[in-house]
Symmetry: C2
Subunit: 320 residues, 2 copies
C-alpha cells in the first residue's frame, strides 16, 4: 500500500499543511526564504503531521486548529534534522547537501532556531494550553536525549538499553507528541489521549529501528544518504549492537567507534549486512509496530483507524 493510498482520508488537510509549510517559507528576507524552501519543500513523507490529523479525527475535528498544529509538528521535526546534521557532521540529507554543508553551520544553527520558534508560535496559535504544553516539552526531551547521547561511552552490556532510551527521546517522543496533540485538540477523553500516545510511542520506536536498518541495507538513491552513514560517524545503532552481542569475542564495532577509518567501517557494514542482526532488528521493529496496532483496537473502527494501522505496517515495509 502506498503512502498516498493511506493518506486518502486526510488528503485535503494534508494538502493544507503543505500550503501552510509553503506560507512559512514566504518571508520578506531572501536568504531565510531560500533556506526555508530548501528544507520544507517536498521535504519528506509527512508522517508526523499525518498522525496529528488522523488522531484528531475520532472526536471534534476542526481544520483551523489541526492544520497549524500538524504544520508545527513538521517544523519541529525539520528543526531537529537541521540541528542534528550539525551535531553529526552529516553532509547529505534526503539526497541533497545538508543545510550545514551547503550554507555553513552558523546559518544551519540559526535556521533551526527560527524553525523551533515558528513551530512554537504555530502551536500557540491553536489556543489549546494542554496541546501547547505537550508540544513545548517535546523539544526538551529531544535535545536532552541528544545531549545524553554525547555523554555515552559504548559498553556492550548497556548498549541495547541506552539505544532504546536514546531513540525513545530522539524519535518516539515526537511521534507520540504528534499523535497526542491530535487527540488533545479534538477534546478526546483521557483514555483516547493515552491510547494514541501509546500508539505514537511504539510507532516511533519501530520507525527509528527501521531507519537504522535502512542505513545498512537500503539503497543510497532511496534512503537519500550513503549506506553505513551512522557507523562512519561513529553512531552505534541496533544492528551494530545486535551484531556485537552475538560476536562477544570480536571487537569490530569497538574498533570502528574508536578509529572510524573507512576500511573498518566498510568491513563492519558488510559483516552486519550479512549477519542475522538485520532480521532480528526487523523482528523487534515489527513487535513495536504490533504494539502500536494493538493500542488502536481500543478506538472505533473507521477509515482513520484503518489508516493508522496501515501506516504502522507501511513503516516496517518501507525502503526509504
Amino acid at each position: 500500500m502506498s503512502l498516498n493510498d493511506i493518506y486518502e482520508p486526510i488528503q485535503d488537510d494534508l494538502d493544507k499543511v503543505e500550503r501552510s509549510l509553503e506560507a512559512v517559507a514566504d518571508v520578506d528576507f531572501p536568504l531565510l526564504a531560500k533556506l526555508l524552501e530548501y528544507v520544507l519543500k517536498n521535504g519528506g513523507k509527512r508522517i508526523r503531521p499525518s498522525l496529528t490529523l488522523l488522531c484528531g479525527k475520532f472526536y471534534r475535528y476542526d481544520p483551523t486548529l489541526f492544520v497549524p498544529m500538524a504544520t508545527a509538528v513538521e517544523l519541529l521535526h525539520t528543526a531537529t534534522l537541521v540541528h542534528d546534521d550539525i551535531v553529526d557532521n552529516s553532509a547529505i540529507r534526503r539526497g541533497k547537501p545538508s543545510v550545514s554543508l551547503a550554507w555553513g553551520e552558523n546559518r544551519a544553527l540559526l535556521l533551526g532556531d527560527y524553525l523551533f520558534s515558528k513551530a512554537g508560535s504555530l502551536a500557540a496559535s491553536t489556543g489549546n494550553l494542554r496541546a501547547i504544553k505537550v508540544f513545548s516539552q517535546a523539544l526538551m526531551v529531544i535535545s536532552g536525549g541528544e545531549l545524553k547521547q554525547t555523554d555515552e561511552i559504548f559498553d556492550l552490556k548497556q548498549a541495547r538499553d541506552h539505544y532504546y532510551k536514546w531513540i525513545s527521546a530522539k524519535t518516539a517522543c515526537l511521534f507520540s507528541t504528534a499523535a497526542e496533540a491530535g487527540a488533545i485538540l479534538s477534546q478526546s477523553p483521557e483514555h483516547v489521549i493515552e491510547t494514541v500516545r501509546e500508539y505514537g510511542y511504539n510507532f516511533g520506536m519501530a520507525f527509528q529501528i527501521v531507519d537504522d536498518v535502512l542505513d545498512f541495507v537500503g539503497e543510497e538513491a532511496e534512503v537519500g544518504k550513503p549506506v553505513g552513514s551512522d557507523l562512519s560517524e561513529g553512531i552505534v545503532t541496533l544492528p551494530s549492537i545486535l551484531y556485537a552481542e552475538s560476536h562477544p569475542g570480536d571487537n569490530l564495532i569497538k574498533r570502528v567507534i574508536e578509529n572510524k577509518d573507512t576500511e573498518s567501517v566498510a568491513l563492519a557494514v558488510e559483516e552486519i549486512r550479512n549477519s542475522t542482526a538485520i532480521d532480528e532488528c526487523l523482528a523487534i521493529a515489527s513487535d513495536f509496530s504490533s504494539r502500536a496496532c494493538r493500542a488502536m483496537e481500543k478506538l472505533p473502527d473507521n477509515s482513520f483507524r484503518q489508516a493508522l494501522l496501515d501506516l504502522a505496517v507501511y513503516i516496517i515495509q518501507r525502503r526509504k
Copy 2:
C-alpha cells in the same frame, strides 16, 4: 545607584526567580545539570526578568504567574547567548570560557535547544495565551535577525540603518517582550501594554549600544571578555560605524573586517577609543534611554515606575 537598590521593590520575587533557575538546573542527568548550572548560576544582571516583574506591578500581580515567566525570559536570553557564542566563535562569556569552548559546539547547540524548550514550557505554564504567543515570537525575531546579519556586507552608507535593525532584533525585541509579557500577565489595559513595549524597546536599544561601547572602553575584568572582541570577530558595531562615517577616506574598518589581523584590530580599537565616536554613541544611547523614560510618564508614579526609570539610567552609566 546600585542594581541591588533598584531591585529593592521586587527583591523577594527576584529571589524566587533565582531559585526557579536553580530548579531548572536540578535535573537527573549529571552532564545536563552541570551545563545548566554553569550558564544559570550567578550568571548575569537579571535585568530582563526584572523588567517582567516590574512591568507586571501596575495591575493584577500574581507571583505564581510572574516567577515562571520571568524565569522563562532569562532562560530564553541564556539560550541565545549560548548559541551566539557558537555563531561568533566566542571563547569568553561573563569572564569564563564559553560553553562551546569548554564543552564543544555540539553540546552548546543542544544545551541552547534545551534552554529554548524549557523557556517555552515555563512560558506555557502561565496559561496566558497572549503572553505565550508574544514569547514564542521573540525567538523568531532574534534568530531571523541574526541570520540576516550573516548575509550583510559592510556598506558604510547603509551601516547605521543595518545596525539599528540588527540590534532591534537581537536585543531590543527580548527586552520589549520581557516588559510586554509582564503587562499582559497582569491584565493591563491595551495602552499600558503599548507603553511598556515602547519602554522595553528603547531600553533594549540603549542597552545594546552601551554594550557595544563597553566592548571598546570597558575593563576586561568588569566586562568579562577582552577589549575589542567584536572587531576581532569581524563584527561592526556603532562605535566602528560612527568612526568610519567621520573618516570617509580612511578604510581602517574595512581592512579590519576583511583581514581580522591582530595588528589592524588593535590599531582600530585604539583609534576608536580615542575618537569622538564613543561619546557620540553614548549620546545616542542616552537618547534611547530618555525615550524609554518618557514612555513611563504615562504610568502612575510609584516605586515600580521609579525602579524602571532608575534602571534606564543605570544601564547608561554601567561599567559592565
